[in-house]
């Protein structure tokens, strides 16, 4: 048994002269919900396309339950169910016909299983309608049903909340948490909006310009609400700021980012006094220190900003 559900080993993708993914390395743990966040054009879809073998990996490797997607494609892909970009299905077939089409492509999927996944995403009523008449939310759910068909141990969803209204997003969120628990799968879920998915994730990886910026835990075993309260997004105006950033990294293993004169980082509430103490002891001047409204807010996003690939 492999230690991780998925492992990216210095994965790079070059198209033409442009390096789109610049050496990603991270692991997805078994049974966790992993949020893959980054602004549009950061390289989320490209990474996911490499994970499922749609795109060749320029260098490095991706292991799925220990099997390389490059050299052991069938063994690796057997473990995966995915939606890549939009949940596209055959519009001239019904939801049921679409699912049966994919069911026939795996050896172990019975009709009962198809009924089961339809029920799991709550599409019983519309399943005999043509997909061409589905709303985006319904297609998103059908996409998830399709991805779950062959009992995957890893579910990959690329921007499943994209284009949905708040109610639709809430629904998807509920499905995903429920599926993660009921089906015992690891879920990789990408989004360009942190706020839309952070609530359902155990950990979040942030990618920008094809590079991994940071990985954060957002949700420990104790329980969602409790944990969320403890995790703070700190904003500190300090000088000299570069020294402060280095100190945080060295003494507290915190990756802080600079936003104009402000130092921005995320930490648990109980760590705040000792962090301040470290800064003060090292002769860093602190002009103000505050907490952003919520833990990993959109704010964090502003700071990461848009992509600068050109």
């Amino acid at each position: 048994m492999a230690e991780f559900a998925m492992e990216l080993i210095h994965t790079k993708k070059r198209i033409g002269q442009k390096e789109i993914i610049k050496g990603l390395s991270f692991q997805i743990k078994k049974g966790e919900v992993f949020g893959f966040i980054g602004p549009n054009g950061a390289g989320k879809t490209t990474t996911i396309r490499m994970m499922v073998g749609l795109m060749n990996i320029t260098s490095g490797d991706i292991l799925i339950q220990g099997n390389s997607i490059k050299t052991k494609f069938k063994e690796a892909i057997k473990e995966v169910g995915a939606i890549v970009e939009n949940p596209e299905m055959y519009p001239f077939m019904t939801g049921w016909q679409n699912l049966m089409h994919y069911a026939r492509m795996s050896s172990d999927v019975t009709k009962e299983r198809v009924h089961e996944v339809v029920a799991l995403v709550g599409l019983e009523k519309a399943i005999n309608q043509k997909v061409g008449r589905y709303s985006l939310g319904m297609r998103q759910r059908l996409g998830i049903a399709q991805a779950l068909l062959s009992y995957p141990s890893i579910l990959i969803l690329d921007e499943p909340t994209n284009g949905l209204d708040p109610a639709g997003i809430r629904e998807i969120r509920q499905y995903i948490r429920r599926i993660a628990e009921e089906e015992q799968v690891s879920v990789i879920i990408s989004s360009h909006l942190l706020s839309e998915i952070e609530m359902m994730c155990d950990r979040i990886g942030i990618i920008k310009n094809g590079e991994l910026i940071t990985i954060e835990s957002v949700r420990a075993a104790v329980g969602e609400s409790e944990k969320e309260k403890e995790l703070l997004m700190m904003q500190v105006e300090a000088a000299p700021i570069d020294k402060a950033i280095n100190l945080l990294q060295a003494k507290h293993s915190i990756k802080a980012v600079r936003e104009e004169k402000m130092l921005v980082f995320q930490t648990e509430k109980e760590n705040v006094p000792s962090i301040i103490k470290t800064l003060v002891e090292q002769d860093i001047a602190i002009y103000q220190a505050g907490v952003a409204k919520k833990s990993l807010e959109d704010k964090f996003f502003d700071l990461i900003g848009e992509n600068t690939i050109g």
Binding site: L54, K74, E85, E88, R104
Partner: protein
């Protein structure tokens, strides 16, 4: 069900569930029934009976002879005039019947079916459309992403698509054959005997209408398979069905002109279209000197391997990217 069989089944479902496919069959059916109705109205139909067929044939020959003489007087044609040749051929055929004492057949379902062999170019056209769409449409619909993330290799997916296209051609071919026989039978009745006279290696010969029908269909299948495989390759290369349809149909229609245009070049015999008509070797008049059946078959196989190899390499190796 075997795994590969299921893939074929999937492909055929995706094909036959769409209205556009049914429209193809409706058009084909309309063509066949229309041709039968037209033939029935305009062709007065010779009616040979066991008593009168000898005098009928002699009358026909006299009329043909006179027709030819009038034609020559009026237009003063070349040695090798098409119209003159046609009349001459018909007279030769009639004489053959008389000499061998065979009663010629009245027009019937089998003869009608045999005459419809030309409809195979319509079948080719439809198969080209299907072949051009089978891979390109999956890209257009975005479903290629879901198709290629199953525990099945890309080669097998591609093969299932190719075989499905050939299966479509076969089904459509059987449809044309069956409907021709049925509507021929309804409009003209079936022949009493299936003996007929054909030209083979420049000589008249007796043969069965069934053999004759199947062989004239069979020879056209070569062209169908080559053009279909070509369209399939173009659609895999460019992931665009309209382009593949356009190029393949353009080449199919202009193939003979292309060969004609380059006829005096040494390499003209290597052009695909110079070799797709294998019937040229049985009727005894090859297109160019030095061409034989073996030569053409070799050229066809080489083209075929190139088409298949290019499709396979492009489909299995290339990224499936968003744009």
């Amino acid at each position: 069900m075997g795994k590969f069989f299921k893939l074929i089944y999937n492909e055929e479902i995706k094909l036959y569930i769409r209205k556009s496919t049914w429209i193809m069959y409706i058009v084909l059916a309309g063509l066949i029934i229309g041709i039968a109705a037209l033939t029935n109205t305009f062709d007065q139909g010779k009616n040979y009976t066991s008593d009168n067929w000898r005098t009928e044939l002699q009358k026909e020959n006299k009329a043909l002879q006179k027709d030819t003489e009038d034609y020559i007087k009026e237009t003063n044609p070349d040695e090798d005039d098409f119209y003159v040749n046609m009349n001459q051929e018909e007279m030769d055929r009639n004489n053959y019947y008389l000499e061998h004492d065979i009663q010629p057949q009245n027009y019937g379902a089998w003869q009608f079916t045999s005459d419809n062999a030309g409809l195979l170019s319509v079948v080719s056209l439809l198969t080209i459309i299907v072949a051009a769409g089978t891979v390109a449409n999956e890209f257009r619909w975005g479903t290629i992403k879901l198709l290629l993330i199953r525990p099945i290799s890309r080669s097998v997916i591609l093969l299932s698509k190719y075989v499905s296209v050939l299966l479509f051609a076969l089904i459509t071919l059987v449809f044309v054959l069956a409907l021709s026989l049925i509507s021929g039978g309804m409009f003209f009745g079936f022949e009493d005997s299936l003996q007929t006279v054909v030209t083979s290696h420049g000589e008249l010969q007796q043969t069965s209408l069934v053999t004759e029908t199947l062989s004239s269909y069979g020879y056209q299948i070569v062209n169908l398979i080559m053009m279909t495989t070509f369209a399939f390759m173009i659609s895999v290369l460019f992931r665009n069905s309209a382009l593949a349809i356009g190029i393949a149909i353009f080449l199919m229609l202009s193939g003979n002109s292309i060969v004609g245009f380059f006829q005096d070049r040494a390499w003209a015999k290597y052009i695909l279209f110079a070799n797709t008509d294998l019937q040229q070797y049985t009727t005894g008049s090859p297109l160019m000197e030095g061409m034989t059946m073996q030569f053409s078959i070799t050229v066809l196989i080489v083209y075929y391997i190139i088409f298949i190899a290019l499709s396979w390499i492009m489909f299995t190796k290339r990224d499936v990217a968003g744009f």
